[in-house]
Homo-oligomer: 210 residues x 2
DNA sequence: GACTGTGAAGCCATTCACAGCT
DNA sequence: AGCTGTGAATGGCTTCACAGTC
C-alpha cells in the first residue's frame, strides 16, 4: 500500500463525505460532482478532489463521481467494510449513553463489553449487556477480538484503565477522560474531552465580544 | 484587543495546559517550566511557549511560570472566569448523560434547560431539570442569558433545532448530530460526531495492518 | 546556568489554475 | 463544455535556534 502520509483532517472529511453520500444515495442521486459534495458539506471543491486523490481516481472527467461507487470506496478507506468490536470502560452516565448510541451500530461498531469497578454498577444491564468488573476485560477482548476501547472513567483511574486495555491487546483508544494518557507507540489514542470542545466556543465568544 | 488570528489547535492545547496546571497546583507546585508542561501534556516546549506568547508574557526568564498565575491567565483566555449558561436539545441517552456530566460544571458550564419534542420525554426529570418542549427554548435562553447550545437530536431534525436555537439568540453550538448544519456567520459551530472519531481510529488500524 | 520570548526556517495543508479526459 | 486529477503557489502552524533576562 502507498503509505504516503494522509492529513488527519482529510480522514475527518472523508467520514463526512461518506455520510453525505449515504444521504444522496438514499435520495436516488446517481452521479455527483466535487462541487456538489463541497456545497453539501461546506468545504471547497478542490479540497474534495484532493482528499479523494490521496486514495485513487474514483471519478470520471467531465462527469463526476458515481455516488454508490464513491460511497463504497470511502467506507472501505475508513475501514468500515466490516464490523468492529468495541469495549467500553466506565459505566456511568456517559458510558451508558455510548453503549446505547445508535450512531455507532449504524457505522459498523459493535459494543461487546461494558466494564466498571463500581460494585453498584456491576451486574446492571445496559441495553443487552451486563456490566462486568475490569478483571474481565482481557477475556472479553480476546473472545471478540476487539481492537478498540472507549474510556469514560474519571481522570484518577484513566491511566490504570488504559494500561489494562493495552495489556488486553486493544490497539486504539477513544479517551473521554479530561487528562493526557500514555500508551505504547503501537496503540492509537484520540482524546475527546467534552469540556475542551465547549471551551473552544467560549474562547471564540470572548474574542467577539471584546 | 489584538485580534491576531490564533490557531484553533492552540486553544485546544490551552485547555489541556489549564487542566495540567490545576493538577500541578493541587500538588503544591509553585513554579513550572515550559519543558515540564510539555512533558506532562505531550507537546514540545517551544510549542508551549509559542502558544502562551500569543496572549502575553506570563513567565520569568531563567525561572519559568508561576503555576497559580498561569492557571488564572489560561482560564481567563478561555473565557472561563465566570459561569456560562448552556441549554441542551435532545433528551435521549446522550443528552441526558451530558446534562449530568460533571466535567461541565467543574469548568463553569451550567446547564439551565433540557428540551425535546418527544412527549414521552417531556416532564421527565434529569438531575434537577425537567425536560421541556422545544417551544420553551426561547424563553429559557432569554431568562438565563444562555449563549451556548448543545444539540443531541437525530440528524433529521438537527437543522430545525439549530434554527430554533439561533432564533432564540444562541451564539455557539456544539453539534453531536452526524450531519452538517448551517448557521449565520455570527454563530459558532463545532461538530462532535462520535462515530467520526472512531473512524479516525479504524482508518489508522487499517493502514497499520496492511 | 537556566529558562523565556521570538524572528526565521521548515514543514504541512489548502487553494489555485490548468492540462487531460469524456 | 464540463468536471476530474494534479503540480505549483500560497498560507499557516510548528520547530529551531538564539538573544534577552533573571
Amino acid at each position: 500500500m502507498k503509505a504516503l502520509k494522509i492529513p488527519e483532517a482529510t480522514i475527518v472529511r472523508l467520514s463526512v463525505y461518506s455520510r453525505f453520500l449515504e444521504q444522496a444515495d438514499k435520495r436516488g442521486i446517481v452521479t455527483i460532482s466535487s462541487g456538489e459534495i463541497a456545497e453539501g458539506v461546506g468545504v471547497s471543491p478542490a479540497q474534495v478532489r484532493k482528499d479523494l486523490a490521496y486514495f485513487g481516481e474514483f471519478g470520471t472527467r467531465g462527469v463526476g463521481y458515481n455516488v454508490k461507487d464513491l460511497l463504497r470506496h470511502t467506507l472501505k478507506i475508513l475501514g468500515l467494510n466490516g464490523k468492529w468490536s468495541v469495549v467500553v470502560v466506565g459505566a456511568g452516565n456517559l458510558g451508558s449513553a455510548l453503549v446505547s448510541y445508535r450512531g455507532f451500530r449504524e457505522r459498523g461498531f459493535d459494543i461487546v463489553g461494558v466494564f466498571d469497578n463500581d460494585l453498584t454498577k456491576i451486574g446492571k444491564r445496559i441495553v443487552n449487556l451486563e456490566v462486568m468488573g475490569t478483571e474481565k476485560i482481557q477475556q472479553v477482548v480476546k473472545e471478540h477480538d476487539a481492537k478498540i476501547g472507549i474510556v469514560t472513567v474519571p481522570t484518577s483511574v484513566a491511566q490504570d484503565v488504559v494500561n489494562l486495555l493495552v495489556k488486553a491487546g486493544i490497539r486504539a483508544i477513544l479517551n473521554f477522560a479530561p487528562t493526557v494518557i500514555s500508551v505504547p507507540d503501537n496503540v492509537e489514542v484520540r482524546d475527546m474531552d467534552l469540556a475542551t470542545r465547549l471551551e473552544i466556543l467560549t474562547f471564540q465568544l470572548g474574542i467577539k465580544d471584546s
